[in-house]
Symmetry: C2
Subunit: 381 residues, 2 copies
Amino acid sequence: MADEENAYSFTTAATRHIKLECLPEGGMKLWRGERLPEVTLAYESWGELNEKADNAIIIFTGLSPSAHAASSPQDPSPGWWEYMIGPGKAVDTNRFFVVCANSLGGCYGSTGPSSINPATGSSYDADFPDVTVEDIASSGYYLMRELGVEKLHAAVGSSMGGMSSIAYAMQYPGEIRYLVSISAAAQALPLTIALRSLQREIIRSDPDWNNGHYSDEKRPLSGMSLARKLGLVSYRAADEWNSKFDRSRLPPEKLTGQRFEREFEIENYLEYNAQKFIHSFDPNSYLYLSRAMDWFDIAEHGDSIAGGMAKIDVEKALVVGVTTDILFPLRQQREIADVMRSTGTDVDYVEIDSVNGHDAFLIDDEHFSPVVKKFLDESVS
Amino acid sequence: MADEENAYSFTTAATRHIKLECLPEGGMKLWRGERLPEVTLAYESWGELNEKADNAIIIFTGLSPSAHAASSPQDPSPGWWEYMIGPGKAVDTNRFFVVCANSLGGCYGSTGPSSINPATGSSYDADFPDVTVEDIASSGYYLMRELGVEKLHAAVGSSMGGMSSIAYAMQYPGEIRYLVSISAAAQALPLTIALRSLQREIIRSDPDWNNGHYSDEKRPLSGMSLARKLGLVSYRAADEWNSKFDRSRLPPEKLTGQRFEREFEIENYLEYNAQKFIHSFDPNSYLYLSRAMDWFDIAEHGDSIAGGMAKIDVEKALVVGVTTDILFPLRQQREIADVMRSTGTDVDYVEIDSVNGHDAFLIDDEHFSPVVKKFLDESVS
C-alpha cells in the first residue's frame, strides 16, 4: 500500500508493507461472513528467523498501536512496547524473530477502512466489512506464512492483542507452541460493551463523521476527542489519579473565565492526551476495532468458553492480569487461566499488583518484564 | 414560579413553590461569589410539623431528582425514594415533618438556569451564576426558615444530597441534630471529576447546546443522551450487568442491518433509559449541578477536610457506603466517618454489600431501610 493511499499510514525505514499472496482464492473470508479481496499488512520485525524457522514470535496489539512496537537500527524511535522487546529483553530479539503488525482494520498501513477498495478505487470508509478479533489473528497467520514461518514459537498480546493471541491458538491448533495473554478477556461483558458502544456513538454523533464518509479535511475530531477521553478514563485506576492529580487546579493564567472551562489538572490531562491521539488515528478504524472487541466471545468457537478453549493445543500458556484493571478485570484473567487448565492447557497465571489499571502493561516494566522473560526463557530451555 | 416560566417544572397537587423571602438584602450570596436576587424552591412535604417545631427532616437529592421523593394523598404516584419515606417507614412521616426540595439550580420548579432572570425577563440559561453544593444546602436552610423551622431534627441525603447534608451541618453548626450521608464524598476526586467533565463536554459539543442558549424546540438531546448513558455506566456495577445482561442480543426483528447499530441488550438498556431522561431534564441544569459536585471540597471550609469537618456540631451522624460503588467508593465513605470521628462527631458507619453500585440507595430497600430506620428511631428514643 502506498502512502498516498492512506492518510494515516506512516512509513519509517523499519515498517514494511506486505500484500498477502497466500490468501485463499477470492480473498480473505472474514469471521462474520464478508470477504476482503486483498489484504496488505504493515509490519516491523526484530531479530532473525533461524534456519529451522522455529523461533518466530508474533506480537498482537491493542486497539490503537502501530507495528512500531520497538526501536530498531532502521527506526531508533521508541516503540509502544519498547521495554518489552529488544536484545536481552523479555522478548529477546537476540534469540527470537519478532514480528508485530498493525492490526487488520487499523490505520497505520494495514488494510482498513481508510484503505482503497480495489473494487471502487475509493477508500472503503464505512463500507469496510465487519472485522473481528478472529480476522486479526488470521491475518497474522497469513503474514507469518508469507515470512516463511509454518509454526510459531509464541503469540504474545495484551488487551485486544491478548484476545487475538487466544484466537490464533484456537483457530490454528498445534501451530503455535507458547501463548501469552495479558489483560485480555474470554468474552466481552456488558460494562466494556457499554463503554465502547458509547465511544462509538459519540464519534457517530459528530456531524463530521458523515455516516463514515468524511474527508481528510473534515474528520470527526470532536467526537474522537470525547471518545478518547472516555477511553483514557477506563484505562486507568482511580487511585493512581488520586495520587497524581488529586484536586490540583490549572494555574490562573490558563483560565479564560468562561463558564464550564477546564479548571482541574485532570481535565487538562485528558484534553492533552486526546489531542495527541485524534490527529493520528482514523475514526472509522476506531469504530471497527472497538466493535471487534465487543463481538469477541470464545464461546463462539465451541458451545461454551470451555468448548472454545478446548481447541487450544499449545505447550504452555501465560495469563497475566492486573489488580486495578476495571476494563479487563482480574476475574476475567482468572477465568481464562482456569478454563484453559480445565481443558488441558498448562498455564502460568500471574496477577500483577499495579496502580496503573488496564494500561499497566504499557508502563510497568519492572512488573511485566520479569514475568514474560521467565516464561519465554523457560520455553527454550 | 408559574409553570409557564419553566418548561421542565411539573406541578402536582403535592408540589408547592415558595419564594424565599428571608434571604439577605440583595438576594442570596453564593459560595463562589455571584448573587441570585430571587430564589424560588419547589418542595413537597410529608407529615406535620409539631408544636415545638423540632421534628423536621430535610431530604437533599442527588443531581437529577425532583421534590417528589414520595407519594402523598395529594400525589399518589411513587416518588424517587418511595421505599424510604412514609408512614411507618425508615423516614417515618407519622413522626417527622419531612421536606424535600428540588435542588437550587435544578429544573423541576426551583430557581435554575431555565428560570426567568428578573433582571432581563428571559431565562438565565448559561448566564445563571455558579451554584455549589454549599448553596443548595443554604437554600434548604432558608426554605426551612420559611416553613417555621429553626433547628432541624435531621438532614438526610444521598450522592450529591449527602454532600449537601454535610455542607448544611458545616455551614449551620448546632442547627441540625442528626446527619445522614449516604454514598457521598468529602471532596470530588479526579476520576469523578473526569467523568463529569466529559459528560459536560459531550453536552456542550452538541451544536444544539448553542453555548447554553437553546430553545425549547431545539435542545441538545443527542449530547444529553450520550451524557446520561455515561452516567448510567458509572452508577452501576459490572457484576450486576453481567448477571442481568451477560451477552444477550436484541432479537433479529429489532436489528436494521446497519453497521454499528445497537446489537446487545446492554446497548438497548442504555438507549431506553437515556431517552426516558433527556426529555424531562434541562441540559443547563445538568451542567451546573454536575460542576457543583466537582467543586465540592470540605477542605474549603477549613485548612483541610478535618478542618471543615470540625465545624460540624451534631448529636450523631450516620455514614453509609456501598461495596460496589465506583463513583463514590467505600474508601471515601470511610474517610467521612473517620474524619468526623477524629473531629469529635459520634458516627454510625455502615457498609452495605450490594451489587447495585452507586444507585443502590435508590433500589435496595431491604439494605437501606433498616439502617436508616434504626438511626432515626434511636434519635428520638
